[in-house]
Symmetry: D2
Subunit: 282 residues, 4 copies
């Protein structure tokens, strides 16, 4: 049986899976990301061979950190310093002789959730809350892109926040007051001096309030039907965290209908499943 191949290439690990045309995963493998581009690429080729298992590959898709040129398929993931201007699409299409598509991990995750996550929403926003914060916005199932293909940066909006340690709010992008600096794993570590898992209830509440303010802005500007949140911080915080964020969102939202808000249905596989969808895309 011919297979689709999806890749989720992250700063700490790489996941590769094969699937049938209905998106059911057939085989999957996983490896640590190295510090060498050559090692990573060789590893990826081995992983693809392993999951393809000598079947014909119908297409491949990949999720990776930005920035990247999704049309040319040239990638420079911020958190993988060895990867700079890598012509991933050209390399993969030459090697594997099938169409290869790549996009920013949050866009790919949004597609995964939309297609395989048990939803069908005309205006859909997917958020990731892990080391950093990002999102992918789909209009009628299509990735929204802005000026010259730029993707929105939902983590780099400003909100009226609450913070018990305001001087520690400092975003990695260089600006002091981004939402990402308040609610991402790295931001939490800077502000509270510990990882998200170890936050106490009051601290979780503060993080949820700030996320809720960001959600309120997203609701006001996109007026989406559904927002789903994935990524380690969100999955770790769980339903309780999402509930608190929802409450803060709704408390600040009057004129725009509140979106349905929930955790990703695909857990840690959202980007991988999205990459499989990309592999099918014509």
């Amino acid at each position: 049986m011919a297979v689709l191949v999806g890749l989720d290439i992250g700063g700490t690990k790489i996941m590769v899976a094969s699937a049938d045309r209905e998106g059911n995963i057939l085989r999957r493998v996983r490896a640590e990301t190295s510090t060498s581009l050559e090692a990573d690429l060789a590893n990826i080729d081995r992983m693809i061979a392993a999951v393809a298992a000598d079947e014909e590959i119908l297409g491949m898709g990949a999720a990776i950190g930005g920035p990247l040129d999704w049309e040319q398929g040239i990638v420079s993931p911020l958190h993988q310093p060895a990867w700079r201007n890598v012509p991933l699409k050209a390399l993969m299409e030459a090697k594997w002789n099938c169409r290869f598509r790549v996009d920013v991990d949050t866009n790919v995750a949004a597609i995964g959730e939309y297609r395989w996550g048990g939803l069908f929403a005309e205006r859909f926003l997917y958020l990731t809350l892990s080391t950093g914060m990002g999102g992918g916005f789909l209009i009628d199932g299509k990735i929204y892109r802005g000026q010259d293909g730029a993707h929105p940066e939902v983590g780099h909006q400003s909100i009226h926040f609450r913070c018990s340690n305001p001087s520690a709010v400092q975003c990695e992008c260089g600006v002091s007051d981004c939402l990402e600096a308040l609610v991402s794993g790295n931001g939490i570590r800077r502000i509270y001096g510990k990882s998200a898992e170890t936050l106490n209830p009051e601290e979780w509440q503060e993080v949820a309030y700030n996320l809720g303010q960001g959600l309120r802005n997203l609701a006001a500007l996109y007026a989406p039907h559904v927002i789903r949140i994935g990524g380690g911080v969100a999955v770790g915080g769980g339903e309780r965290f999402v509930s608190a964020a929802r409450e803060a969102m709704q408390e600040h939202l009057r004129l725009v209908p509140a979106p349905q808000l929930g955790l990703s249905h695909l857990g840690y596989d959202t980007a991988l499943r999205g990459a499989i969808a990309l592999a099918l895309l014509k």
Copy 2:
């Protein structure tokens, strides 16, 4: 010559104009808004008759305050309490025997600026800064609508603001920390105890900073090519105000390209000109 008729129905005044198919205004009239629906409607009919001047009317378009149902053409403009659930489209089409289209004033203004304002931008945001604050976002020239047709409410986002009188920040929507409460005419009056025209340079600077933070959020979430700002506060503040807001926006924007930002090219006629465009819409 057959004509288009456009109406800008506001809380304090009503403007009606006729135009040729290229949007050139032929005749225009203006009246105060009354406190009676019947008087307003009779007035509007007289104004239409005056600008049509016995020519065939090809179509009519109107801009009015929300909320409204743009498909059914039923309007309930917030600041015109006598107008509640008025089936404006049905009334006008029965009376004038031509197609009548109506939309929220900020959406209509966005269309006016897009079509007649000397620009052609794939992602375009129009903002109004007057008594309140609103906006219309066009994707490839088409009005963006969210969940079930809801339009974004760009004035009701939260930002990390600066304010010399923070306890006076209170939005009319019921939430304390909306952008509108910081930068609109009414918001300015609450905070600074005077109208926008009489602000001193430091106060203008504070308003511009806060607008800049809102623009930064809009840039981060929509990644538009162009933002144009109209409305009395913006036109009153002029290029200097816009420059200060641009500076604050750019200072806080790293990962998304900055939009081109400027004042509306159509001054106080943006919504009226947009209504004329709507009159042409098939």
Copy 3:
């Protein structure tokens, strides 16, 4: 477990199914269409109750013959004369207390094939070849609608056809030379005096040639990535018929890339599965 409910309401039979959020069918029932609206509606209610099996219904979707008003949900299926201006959406939402969406069967089938048929194509055309001929065209997964919501009528195009009995080419719409009159079940019966199943190879070849000419027009005007064909005549004709049509299409297509062409992957359930997708739509 909460369920989705999908309905495929046809001129000869009604199919109703419940499914989970991933579109997997849980229970299904089927009945003959009667000649009484009341009997049909009562039947439909019983069928829904049967497949829902006391679970909460998340939403309902339906496929039915045109014409209809998809926004208001008022239907008048041509081949069900007892159904005229039936406010199906209002009736169902009042009775079942959940969102109900309905669209023309060919549009719904297109959505079914797109979402559950193992494909993901930016430009996708679904065709039905049964008693009549119709289609649904999806741009980035969204139903294409024309002037004031009109859906394309791909069966009512004209082609340069071959026919051994040209005087029998007569479309039910009143025009003599529609494609539907050449390739649909009813058209085949008029031209060849027998049903599609009993055509001899030369007759199949003629039908395939004419379908191929229609496909060539569809390819020239839509330039789609993928065309899938369903419906009794196509499924009956099978891969051999589709191959012959593909050949005729390609022979006449020069400047536009040929689409991938194949039979529906969902067989006779395409519209039913699409109705389940509609049931999920927000």
Copy 4:
């Protein structure tokens, strides 16, 4: 005053104009197309300098015959054999230091008619009937593109035609029965042995009938609000020709609403005016 520059590069002549931001032409020049690429490019540079008249150039747009890669701006116009894989965008941007956009002439003409032709239609089709036949289809003002960016080829559809000299129906694309072979200037010359201007009323009627059949297919598949026709054959045939084509279209159209049909409002400047609009595009 800063200016926009538009170019209409055709097989027999090149037109270049400068305009203000509202699209009003300021200066224009025109030259014969040569048989040398170098001569043409030098000529174009001189023409641009002439119309720019030392003003700042805000942007440039160009219409040219296909095929071309509109994103990369590499052109190979069929009827200009000296132009093969010319990186026009790169050449022009390097030379003139401003954004340059190019597209197929029929797409550009569609944009010109849409923006400056006194119309505003959600589904709009522009047709050119000159030496050959082509079209550009706009959905909400945006150029429709098919598989991998391919543009529709409306002249290469098949219709059920009438022809007094059927053996002379032969399209330049290599297929015998394209609409272009029946209604374009070259097709007319092959069939009737003379140019369009010299056709007698019966011959015009036959051409109009065939065009009407093509229009019926376009109406059935796109269901547009408005179709406008330009190009020498259509402008030469005038209102009478368009009326006869409209009649044939309506006679064969039942289930889809007929579009408003008329001649281009911009005469021979449609592509040039569209190029000016492209020059403004961000």
